[in-house]
């Protein structure tokens, strides 16, 4: 279980202190599929990074499976079973796709069959990619799909994906939603996905709406999703007209 209590995060900029997260509290039971959504700049990525330890909150606490992890390093959290798929993954000159998948799986060298299994789930053919370097020769969409494959290879108990759909073509996206659905159906994993995509939101058990650094809504998909749609068109005469 993931328990977040009164989490706040601020940045110091030219215009003084800006609150990115304001006293966010959230509990996610095990084996749930939770989508965090909301407007751009609402604090979603910061919340995900705070769970992974990539940013340190100003106040508040995070507990995972009963362990207080707020003061733990990224490495320690990873070893406790938390993984995080970057929205904009880094590239590595010299490291091959197979090397990165092996590191993710915690093995000296992952077999071709195992690599193939993870890459196929993100719509890539392993024969074409295993020996490729993770450098600029790969497109943004390819890097993103390999990033997601590393999280699958890691097979941790809490998988966080930050906008996995960003930069991915329509065909691969369809494959990806099937993969998420498969993980959900197999069970044993908590999925926390930041997304704006209806097809991903439709897979969720629960939806969390984060806006202006505050938790605005949280609840079962069937309850929250209609509210999001209503909120999208509210106040816009053109959109309201379209939906009538």
């Amino acid at each position: 279980m993931l328990q977040i209590e009164n989490l706040s995060f601020q940045v110091n900029g030219e215009n003084g202190v800006t609150d990115i997260l304001k006293n966010v509290s959230l509990t996610i039971p095990d084996n749930r599929f939770v989508v965090i959504t909301g407007p751009n700049g609402g604090g979603k990525t910061t919340l995900a990074k705070a769970i992974m330890g990539l940013v340190q909150p100003v106040t508040g606490s995070i507990r995972y499976d009963g362990t207080e992890i707020t003061g733990l390093s990224v490495t320690e959290r990873a070893r406790l079973g938390i993984s995080y798929g970057f929205q904009q993954p880094p590239r590595f000159k010299g490291l091959r796709v197979q090397d990165l998948l092996s590191l993710a799986a915690g093995k000296a060298s992952l077999s071709q069959d195992e690599c193939c299994r993870y890459l196929t789930q993100v719509g890539l053919c392993s024969c074409d990619y295993l020996d490729r370097e993770m450098d600029t020769s790969l497109s943004g969409g390819e890097i993103k799909r390999i990033e997601i494959a590393t999280i699958l290879a890691r097979n941790s108990s809490l998988m966080i994906f930050d906008e996995p759909e960003a930069g991915i073509d329509l065909w691969s996206f369809a494959r990806l939603t099937e993969t998420f659905k498969g993980i959900r159906d197999r069970g044993g994993v908590t999925l926390l996905i930041i997304s704006h995509q209806e097809r991903i939101i439709q897979l969720a058990d629960e939806i969390v709406v984060l806006s202006e650094g505050e938790l605005r809504q949280k609840g079962p998909r069937d309850e929250i999703f209609p509210l999001i749609l209503a909120d999208t068109v509210a106040g816009c005469s053109y959109m309201e007209g379209v939906h009538q």
């Binding site: 992974m52 990539l54 390093s73 990224v74 490495t75 990873a78 070893r79 993984s83 995080y84 970057f86 993954p89 880094p90 590595f92 000159k93 010299g94 490291l95 091959r96 090397d99 590191l103 993710a104 915690g106 590393t150 890691r154």
Partner: protein
């Protein structure tokens, strides 16, 4: 050969004892052992230190190992090795120098390797440098490699120096004839107060000649590196110079690639980059369960692999 010799041989040439095929092992400025094969003949030079290696035309899938070992402190040697490779060959040549210096005096190896690669021959040449030992004496290597490629000849030249060598000045010169091709891969890691200078002249003389220089280096601590890869196009040719360096600590790196075209049909490109390890690279590997130090090592290993 003792344990130190065997370790050095494994480090520089991947040799576990005596290799298959022709070889020449030089130790502390003396011939340690040698074997020629039917197609690869090794003979000592009579006018200066070093050897001549003659490879008969049509020799395929054979190798020759010529490692150099220095285990005594105070050795300063200059060696001339010439390779005469006939037409239509396909051979691997493994060189390299390992220095174990436990003494107070400097140990130094200077070597000039000259290759004459015959028409349509393919050569894979690898040269590794390795240094170790607890002595205060410096470990110095100054290799020169000169390659003459005849029509349609090809050489893949790989040089590796990872730690252990206090000072190196390397010079590589390639003269490529018609339709000849060269791929030069250089990998270097310096640390402590080490210094390394690598200078290259790749001259694309013949029509259809092409060459690629791929240099990757890591400078740690207060070490210093300087690169001067120069490529000259004298005909319709293609050349690409790529120098990438990772800088760490208080190190200093200078990278000065130069491309010169003396023909309107010469296509030459150079890229050079120096930068530190990106923070998000370290963080990504930490999210996979590696410590910060393990992440850094993996990134460097991959970069220099």
């Amino acid at each position: 050969m003792n344990k130190i010799d065997l370790k050095l041989l494994m480090k520089i040439a991947g040799m576990d004892g005596t290799p298959k095929g022709a070889f020449n092992i030089r130790k502390n400025s003396q011939l340690e052992s040698r074997a020629s094969s039917e197609n690869i003949i090794i003979t000592s030079k009579t006018d200066q230190p070093g050897i001549d290696i003659h490879i008969k035309p049509g020799t395929k899938k054979e190798s020759v190992h010529i490692p150099v070992l220095i285990t005594e402190s105070g050795i300063d040697e200059m060696v001339y090795n010439d390779f005469f490779i006939g037409e239509d060959c396909d051979v691997d040549i493994v060189a390299g120098c390992g220095i174990h210096n436990d003494g107070p005096e400097c140990s130094q190896h200077n070597g000039i390797h000259t290759f004459y690669v015959g028409k349509n021959s393919r050569v894979k040449y690898s040269e590794k440098h390795y240094g170790e030992g607890d002595g205060a004496g410096e470990r110095i290597m100054n290799p020169q490699t000169v390659v003459h490629l005849e029509e349609g000849a090809f050489i893949e030249l790989e040089t590796v120096q990872i730690r252990g060598i206090d000072s190196t000045k390397r010079y590589t010169k390639i003269i490529a004839g018609k339709d000849a091709e060269a791929i030069i891969t250089e990998r270097l890691l310096t640390h402590g107060k080490q210094s390394a200078v690598s200078e290259m002249d790749v001259i694309l003389d013949g029509e259809g000649a092409n060459a690629r220089i791929i240099s990757r280096s890591v400078a740690q601590d207060s070490s210093q590196q300087t690169f001067y890869p120069r490529m000259i196009g004298n005909s319709k040719c293609f050349g690409h110079v790529q120098c990438d360096s990772i800088i760490m600590g208080d190190a200093k790196i200078r990278s000065i690639p130069e491309i010169s075209a003396n023909c309107a049909d010469a296509q030459l490109v150079h890229e050079a980059a120096i930068g530190k390890i990106a923070g998000d690279q370290i963080l990504k590997l930490m999210t996979l369960g590696l410590t910060e130090q393990e992440a850094e090592e993996k990134i460097l290993d991959g970069f220099l692999k």
